[in-house]
């Protein structure tokens, strides 16, 4: 590992530690540069290739760092940069791997989706800038960097949701996402200012130390923590800040829905895990029992997401609600945390991280399948999906894999990630979280299998001639996501081991 031989104070060291982020931002700039140099040429292929290369190289570097042990206990622990405002460690790299994988899949799929688009460079660069910001969210170790990177990820996302400027649904979705996003950003900033007021610091470890000395400002601290939690709940689409999600996911272009519901949600959890595990752990006893708060919200989110999903007629909206339900599962990672139980905390948070990784693939795949249907122009409801398996068997098979995996059938990666999560919750003494999770998962099989039923068991109702065109990029992305979802069952071991080690390092 050549990285560690560079002098830790040198700028080269910082640059190489943040390798994935740097590659992402450079590729975003490269996309803009290509577009500026030949603004009239239809250069979708070149732009998509650049963007895909950028995300894949970033993914490669991230996986390399993870395997080489960069920032992990094996090679001397977390790498602290910029006076501790950024910390590169196992957790950051793990989440960066999620973001870059999702971004790569979405870029490849967007190649077909943007075939007739006038200005694809804007789309790719916004996507890459958002991914860059997410990779910063994963390593942010100060409330300042957390806030800035979170906003940097949100701003391109608003634009991406409203990308189809002349489509009323897309604009409406973008507006709603922006309005709620802006309010929650303000609430988040105010929460940070209150935490700063009570502790006098923005660096997460310093906040943790200072919380013990907070006396008369404990109330301020508690309100501040609640407001910060509100910001995360917005980003992860959890109750009570979830109601933008069905709108935004339904109205946005489907690749953007895939990106937001997988990567953006994971990014929200990345910062939430780090901030609450590192900074607010001592506040459990002093200011506010946020563990219980997240527990209640996890239950409500799981129940609401899954029940609402069961009543939908629009497949994309159903997936949007199911995405809320999965935010509830991942919230268990924060809810089952108790003060002074480091090993249990790390197990359950690691399981939540692993779930987010598996979810990243299966959910992205599912939304990209919908992108494919949107491109064919078949329709949006379950009835419109009838008989597609007959015309597009490969893609429909992949969709069946995603649906069964999201439901947690023990055939694909989604089974182990849920199983580890619930088991972790039980071991930590939160059996009620696991029980609600198991019951809602069983319910979710009902609405997920409706998609499979429509695709395979029903006879076609409408004209499916549009399915004769085979969008290569979309097919490639969907099938790669499907294969990875399958392989995550036998290959779950390394994933969960990495995730648990990363979580343990944060709690240590």
């Amino acid at each position: 590992m050549s990285l560690l031989q560079i002098e830790p104070t040198s700028w080269l060291f910082a640059l190489s530690s943040l390798g994935p982020t740097v590659v992402l931002v450079l590729s975003a700039l490269a996309v803009l540069a290509i577009d500026s140099l030949s603004p009239d040429a239809r250069s979708n292929t070149r732009l998509a290739a650049t963007a895909a290369a950028g995300t894949l190289i970033a993914l490669g570097i991230t996986v390399w760092y993870l395997l080489a042990g960069t920032g992990q206990p094996a090679t001397g622990g977390a790498i602290s940069l910029f006076s501790g405002a950024i910390v590169v460690d196992g957790m950051g790299l793990f989440f960066t791997a999620i973001f870059t994988s999702v971004a790569a899949l979405v870029v490849v799929a967007s190649y077909d989706y943007l075939e007739d688009d006038a200005n694809p460079a804007a789309f790719y660069s916004l996507l890459l800038f958002a991914t860059t910001a997410m990779s910063l969210m994963a390593v942010a170790n100060s409330l300042a960097t957390v806030f800035i990177s979170l906003e940097m990820a949100s701003l391109p996302s608003y634009a991406l949701v409203a990308y189809l400027k002349t489509n009323r649904g897309s604009v409406e979705a973008g507006l709603k996402y922006f309005l709620i996003g802006a309010v929650s950003a303000a609430v988040f900033a105010f929460g940070i200012s209150l935490v700063y007021a009570a502790t006098g610091s923005l660096l997460l470890p310093d906040i943790a130390t200072a919380i013990g000395d907070v006396t008369d400002l404990a109330g301020i601290l508690g309100v501040g923590i609640l407001m910060v939690a509100g910001g995360f709940l917005f980003k992860t689409a959890s109750v009570p800040f979830h109601f933008w999600a069905p709108e935004a996911y339904e109205g946005a272009p489907a690749p953007v829905s895939a990106f937001l519901s997988s990567a953006s949600k994971a990014a929200g959890f990345a910062v939430a895990f780090r901030v609450f595990a590192e900074a607010f752990m001592p506040a459990l006893d002093v200011a506010v029992d946020w563990g219980l708060l997240f527990g209640i919200l996890a239950v409500v989110t799981m129940v609401l997401g899954n029940f609402a999903a069961a009543t939908q007629t629009n497949v994309k909206r159903m997936l949007a609600y199911s995405s809320i339900g999965h935010a509830g599962y991942a919230l268990i990672g924060l809810a089952a945390v108790t003060a002074g139980a480091g090993a249990n905390n790390a197990t359950v948070m690691g399981a939540a991280m692993a779930h987010l990784l598996v979810y990243g693939f299966m959910n992205t795949g599912a939304f990209l399948f919908i992108a494919m249907i949107e491109r064919w122009g078949v329709g949006r409801t379950f009835e419109d999906y009838a008989g597609i398996g007959r015309k597009a068997p490969m893609a429909s098979m992949a969709m069946a894999v995603f649906m069964f995996s999201l439901a947690g059938l023990p055939l694909f990666g989604g089974f182990f990630s849920k199983y580890f999560l619930f088991l972790g919750a039980i071991n930590a003494g939160f059996w009620w979280l696991a029980a609600v999770g198991a019951v809602t998962s069983a319910l979710s099989l009902y609405y997920y299998s409706r998609v499979v039923k429509a695709l395979w068991l029903e006879e076609p109702t409408g004209n499916l001639d549009a399915l004769d065109s085979k969008p290569t990029g979309l097919y490639a992305a969907v099938i790669v996501a499907g294969v990875i979802t399958v392989l995550l069952l036998p290959g779950f071991g390394p994933v969960i081991e990495t995730a648990e080690a990363a979580a343990a390092a944060v709690f240590a």
Binding site: T347, G389, R390, P393, F404, L409, P410, L411, F415, F416, Y419, F420, L423, G424, N427, A438, A442, L445, S449, K453, W456, L457, E458, L489, P490, F492, G493, I496, E497
Partner: protein, 507 residues
């Protein structure tokens, strides 16, 4: 490594068949499905093991490799066979190949997907019967459901969607119940892996501890009951059998063959492996209720069959009846009872496969299965009809056929049972079931096959093609072979079931 090779080949064959064009799929699938037969026959010939795999006996073709670790428990890739599982593996490979050939006539749409799913199901079935780690077993167990769901739902009859979803929902809920119960059991044991032998031996050593305030004895009873319910759905027994007739009637013939022939045996296999081997004392405690369930299944299933007019429904309900015998043999906890029950799993697999296939051949020609719509078919399609008659006699337990050996062993075993109170009464009631079976089969045969020719549909009756008849002949041959020489399987079965009796204090 032979098991891994078998699994890998079958999975690869499934993928290959998915990819080829529809018009080549049928022959390719059949050709590929012959290889697992050779593999399983090689395993049979090279089989050198003794005792029960779970109770510490010698395991044939055993491989262990770590998979992943969860909360201090090691999950493993752990496969191997003993005298109980090997006959079922042979049954699976044999029946799949024949079912694929029987699909040549009826399946005329999306062939490559159909045959791919058949091979995929075969691979997972082999996995179910060879896996010795709980999680590995559970993955295969669930993975069997999905191909069957599609086989029924896509290629089935008019009410296929309802039948497929009913099948899927019933079996998945059952799996969930069983899974949770088994987790509670394992977490109360001082084991560090999910290996079934380790769990069994730990239970036999009496190492079960309390679970969240539930005393060990109560926990064992609760777990036994929950797992029994979970597996009983799969068998199925009365009163959780209602998915079976729907699934059978709507399923295409080859899927029915697999469903009756192998998938139902998953339930009894799991009951034998989990409930009766791991928790024999609790089985004895529940002996009377289980005996009642078994006898009710035998008689009620037979009565329901008597009331049907659809040939396929008749055979489907008679499966419920036959599975009742198997449960009776298992709960008897005697050498012949348990051995006979295991033997009957194989025998019934072959016989019900034959029956469904023969009904399918008749349906291909007449396009009706309703008894009242036809009579005198024997004149027009003699070979198929006589094979159907032979299958019916095998069902009734004609000596020198596999059905006789299985049922005879079961009745001998259950009559002398000490574990089951009032064993003679239960046995006599179950034997009464045989009379009903004989009655309904003879009645249906007489009305459809003999007498003057009459057919209510507009189809020209022709002789069945060779590739419809060939699997029937092969199955009949296998049934007679096992009837004449049951020791081919029975010796190794006894070898593996006797240790269970020692565990349960029987014998």
């Amino acid at each position: 490594m032979i098991i891994e090779a078998l699994l890998a080949f079958t999975f690869a064959a499934a993928l290959l068949v998915f990819a080829v064009p529809n018009r080549y799929a049928h022959k390719l699938a059949f050709g590929l499905s012959l290889v697992p037969i050779v593999g399983s026959l090689y395993m049979w010939s090279a089989f050198e093991a003794g005792g029960n795999a779970l109770t510490g006996g010698q395991i044939a073709f055993e491989t262990v490799a770590p998979w992943l670790e969860v909360a201090g428990y090691q999950l493993q890739w752990y496969v191997g066979v003993d005298g109980i599982s090997l006959p079922l593996v042979v049954l699976t490979t044999f029946l799949t190949a024949l079912a694929i050939m029987s699909a040549w006539t009826p399946i005329d749409d999306r062939q490559s997907q159909f045959y791919g799913l058949m091979l995929l199901m075969e691979a997972n079935l082999i996995g179910v019967f060879t896996a010795l780690d709980f999680f590995l077993w559970f993955v295969f167990w669930e993975a069997v459901l999905v191909p069957m769901y599609f086989l029924i739902g896509v290629w089935g009859g008019p009410r296929r969607k309802y039948a497929a979803i009913k099948f899927f929902v019933y079996t998945n809920i059952a799996s969930l119940v069983m899974f949770i119960a088994f987790m509670a059991l394992v977490f109360s044991l001082p084991v560090d892996s999910f290996g079934l032998p380790e769990i069994t031996q730990s239970l036999a050593a009496g190492e079960l501890t309390a679970f969240y305030g539930l005393p060990a004895e109560t926990l064992a009873l609760v777990v036994f009951a929950a797992m029994f319910v979970g597996f009983a759905v799969k068998v199925p027994v009365v009163p959780v059998h209602t998915w079976l007739p729907d699934a059978h009637v709507e399923a295409p013939t080859p899927a029915s063959v697999m469903l009756a022939g192998v998938l139902l045996k998953m339930g009894t296999y799991a009951l034998l492996r989990f409930n009766f081997t791991m928790l024999p004392e609790q089985a004895s405690a529940f002996a009377i209720p289980i005996g009642i369930i078994a006898v009710v299944s035998v008689i009620y299933g037979a009565m329901l069959a008597l009331a049907q007019t659809d040939l396929k429904r008749i055979v489907a309900y008679s499966s419920v009846s036959s599975m009742g015998y198997v449960i009776l043999g298992l709960i008897a906890f005697t050498e012949f009872g348990m051995g006979g029950a295991t033997f009957q799993m194989v025998a019934h697999g072959l016989i019900s496969g034959l029956m469904f296939m023969a009904v399918g051949v008749i349906y291909n020609a007449t396009h009706t299965r309703i008894v009242d719509d036809m009579s005198g078919l024997a004149d027009r399609m003699p070979v198929a009809v006589w094979i159907l008659v032979a299958g019916a006699f095998a069902y009734m337990g004609l000596p020198l056929m596999a059905g006789f050996a299985g049922e005879f062993f079961i009745f001998v075993g259950s009559f002398g049972s000490t574990a089951l109170p009032y064993a003679p009464v239960f046995t006599a009631l179950a034997m009464f079931g045989i009379v009903i079976v004989a009655g309904y089969l003879l009645l249906a045969m007489q009305r459809t096959l003999f007498g003057p020719f009459r057919l209510e549909t507009d189809y020209e009756l022709t002789r069945a093609p060779m590739h419809d008849i060939a699997p029937l002949v092969a199955l009949l041959g296998a049934i007679v072979l096992l009837g004449v020489a049951p020791s081919l399987f029975f010796d190794m079965i006894l070898d593996a079931t006797v240790p269970i009796l020692e565990l349960g204090g029987g014998l």
